[in-house]
């Protein structure tokens, strides 16, 4: 099961830190996302670009998880060598992550 089936996402940038906010389409899927879309899983998915830590903030009222990734933007938006220095496309890339199939699916 791809994350994209359950959630939408938007990435933002500040210096060398990227944040990706992930939102469950259906409120009922938030608990499943909170269980399986862990900071460790996201860090492993972006292992080749995130040099720092991944911290996850939970906002159950919004059905949202916010992942804050340090040393993730090639030294910072204003000096990165990357084609997408802001890391804006990281949000869509994250939606390709594999999650276990939900029970009963």
């Amino acid at each position: 099961m791809k994350l994209r089936n359950l959630a939408h996402a938007r990435a933002g940038d500040k210096g060398d830190t990227s944040n990706i906010a992930v939102f469950a389409y259906e409120a009922g899927d938030f608990a499943f996302l909170a269980e399986h879309l862990t900071a460790e899983r996201v860090k492993a998915y972006f292992a080749d670009i995130v040099g720092g830590e991944v911290t996850r903030y939970e906002l159950p009222a919004l059905g949202a998880l916010n992942f804050v990734m340090t040393k993730a933007l090639g030294g910072g938006v204003t000096r990165s060598l990357a084609l997408d220095p802001h890391g804006k496309s990281l949000s869509s890339s994250l939606l390709d992550i594999d999650l276990p199939d939900p029970q009963g699916a």
Binding site: D48, Y57, T78
Partner: protein
Amino acid sequence: MNRIRIGAGAGFSGDRIEPAVELAERGGLDYLVFECLAERTIALAQLERLRDPEAGFDPLLTERFRAVLPACRAQGVTIITNMGAANPLGAARAVAHVARELGLAGLRIAAVRGDDVLAPVRAGDLSFTDREGRVSDLGGRIISANAYLGVEGMVEALAAGADVVITGRVGDPALFLAPMVHRFGWTRDDWARLGQGTVIGHLLECAGQVAGGYFADPGLKDVADLARLGFPYAEVDEAGDAVIGKVDGSGGQISERTCKEQLLYEVHDPAAYFQPDVVADFTGVTLRQAGQDRVAVSGGRGRPRPDTLKATVGYRDCFIGEGQISYAGPGALARAKLALEIVEARLKLIGIGASEIRFDIIGVDTVRRGAARGDGPEPAEARIRVAGRCETLRDAVRIGNEVESLWLNGPAGGGGASKSAREVIAAASVLVDRALATPEIAYEVA
């Protein structure tokens, strides 16, 4: 209950012009805000100002004001913007000039300065908060240092009857919070309302991004008529509760989903969003669809403002050289990989002085890097990109030249070579004493 309507006319320097005109004409606005100042923009503007003392403000300022001033005057809409960049006073004079050309004599324009903290930041030796090192490490490469001011100067200008308020660096949400504080008389320690007002400002500061821009994903999140995207406004009451909306008939969409995505955009800890006027707490925010393209926003809170102000230091960092070339058809990926190997070997052979070099295949691995280089399907075309960080422009130019020379010396079928070399003006952050950045206001009358 007393209510005001605040529109967002631009979310970045190059944003579309006419959605703001639509808002000014048909949005029933009291205020129209243009947020046009990215992190490093002020450093680039400072370089402009060093070349020409009258320059250093937003390059589209004249065009935007020419477009919106007639409707704003006719509808009684006050304009607030950070388009002053490195020269708010010069920007105010330019707006006065536009107003006179349009026959709008008497327009009262306030320039809010005081964000420039270059002298004390140079004299001190602060540590950076978002990169290694200290200000003194930059030596003579430092260009600018600007503190993020809060609402204070803008509120004073509004109270003095300004029709247009032009700032340099201020907190982006503060551009929207200022008219709320002014009109509702919120006290400067009413942390709950300042926090909720910051939530509203944050939702609006990227303009179209809360109204269906930057949201569409066909089949999953469809948005109508993005070519005519309507920019948003907030209708705010004196308690701070707000409804986000847009002009009827404009394109786009305002839904709980579009608002959620914008609420957390560029946010780290949602319980502690640091601004000059308040530390806002987004964790209690509720968003509720209140009609078509209308979302009610409440529940933002706040805690006392931080003791220090964030300041952005702009400096000459390095030179980046880049080259690209494309391959297509069967074997495109293998030829792209061969091309990268050739360039890598060439850069070693000719001895490029680069501290960092990056080898990409566009369409394959530019985003996730190595993790994306698995056994995916063979792409129909592949474009390589080599980018390197150099101390000199000469070395940066040679990187693009090595990619370009693949035309005659590389794999079969390379096409569409391009190259560039540019100086990088970078930005880093420090925290400064509030006493170093006191707003000063100057008025210009058209």
